[in-house]
Amino acid sequence: MPSVPVRRCTVSTNVSEESSRGMSTAPHKIGVVAPSGRAIGRQGSGPAVEVVGLAKRYPKAPVDSLAGVSFEVAQGEVFGFLGPNGAGKSTTIGILTTRILPTRGRAIVAGVDVVADPVGARRVLGVVPQQNNLDRSLSVRQNLLFHASYHGVPRAERTRLADALLDQFGLADRPDGRPDDFSGGQIQRMMIARALMHAPAVLFLDEPSTGLDPAARLFLWEKVAELQEAGTTVVITTHDMDEAATLSDRVAIIDHGTLLALDTPAALVRGMASERTLDCAVDPGPTTDAEALGAAIGALPGVRETERLDDPTTGAWRLRIYVEGEAAGFVAPVAQAISASGGTLTDARLGEPNLEDVFIHLTGRALR
């Protein structure tokens, strides 16, 4: 395997202790009407979510699962958390939604400190978990109604809201069905509708499109966009590049419990604008030495980095070469280097960098 230089950068966010203290006492203000015609939380001028030096080490774990993360989510923003499994996304969401106690640091959701006042925080946040946790003993409609009753939504209002949300999420034709009789996409919608029943100021979606078919995924994306339009802050975790790029106003890239980058998807990609990529598929010969080949390509003038992203299923070699200037001009010298190593270049693609490249750059590995 060619040695791959990895650039790791830690992006400092603009959260200071002073500003965060001021934020936590910010008064709540008005809401806007959600797609359902319902008021959805939107508190005053402070950020919707504020996290300072948040860390978590699980008992008996040798290292922190979350190693001091700081960021802010603005009101009405769709904020994406991008990272591989085990990066710390779910731990962060778990802490923000009061289900996991942090080892240190502060987390504030809609002006409420989630550690000091978990009960208050649960009033202002909504959660759509990764796995189906609907009440299987209740019908779809009853799931929504009982959820609202837990949150103290008055009876008349919760009935009206449930009907509106069922309609909005395309569930109105089978309100009395049991969750077990529905598809994964429908269950996802039910869980979002349920989370909206108490008009949360911030909605957390944990890997919402995992296991959804493309149509269900598009429906989900539409709904998230609508929620944002209505002023709900949405925090979403994903390991899907397209999802992060499409939905999020800003993306935080997280790996090994550390925030590696935080910016708009466009800005993250723009940071690599001077680079083009050349993806090569290589059929290695019996004498091909991966390390030597990587070094040979790396030594070509204009090549910045070489990454090996082999397909584990086929075992084929795949090299991603980051170059300065037009990538097309590198095809010939790279092919030459490959044949000099005894291998054959079987495919070459020229590419503009995308969010995945940003991620690979930051973490040194492919996400999927």
Partner: protein, 274 residues
Amino acid sequence: MTVANVDPLPIALRELPQWGPWRTGLAILRRDLFVTGREFPIFLAQVILQPLFLLFVFGKVLTELGYARPGYQLVLFPGLVALAAVLTGLQSTALPLVIEFSYSNEIEDRLLAPLPVAGVAVEKVVFAAMRAFVAAAVMFPIGVWILGSIPWRGSAGLAVFAMVILGSLLGAAMGLILGTYVPPNRINVTFALVLTPLMFTGCSQYPWPSLSHLRWFQVASALNPMTYVSEGLRGLMVPHVPHIQTWLCFLVAVVYLVVLMVVGMIGFNRRALG
């Protein structure tokens, strides 16, 4: 879509008058009652069957065949009421907790409701105790039906009521411990290893003092919280049968309840909060 930048304050942020965590707890209890109420006949069949057969075989068949002395049903009946209360309480917390914490994750929606985590555990115990109380209460008409008559003293009615509630809570608290400490893949084994000894060391079929010539078993039985429920009810319903003093039964049962609840709460918190 209409997006109007007007108030009112969203409900989540609005001061809801008189809405406290206890009302959330009650709403959760209402959900449990709603679900059980819908399946009440199934629930009854579930809780009645075992004590019904015990009562029939031990109280009726064995006595009529002459294997048990006449009057044995008087000793047996209070013990079976205790058994129904404790075991139903235990099963009504342990099994749902195991399922809700692992396979269905159903408990999450309640843990995300605006009440302290301990409130969810208390609701589970209260609801399980309600089921257990119903199970114990239906033993009385069943006893009359199968045995012809049951030992009953009107003057002890209130104390019997209190002891049945205590037994129901004790069982529910034991279930809280089982449901939160035992990993889901072990629950079958644990049930077998816990339920059988619990059933047969709880003095439901014989008075505790009569075990004096089987000392080790008497000591083992004294460790079982159910023993104090059985003996307490026996003392109240058939005072002429030798029994552990009733005040002592109440005291030990209350102490056990406090200890089991504390241990169970710790387990629940551990499962509920990462």
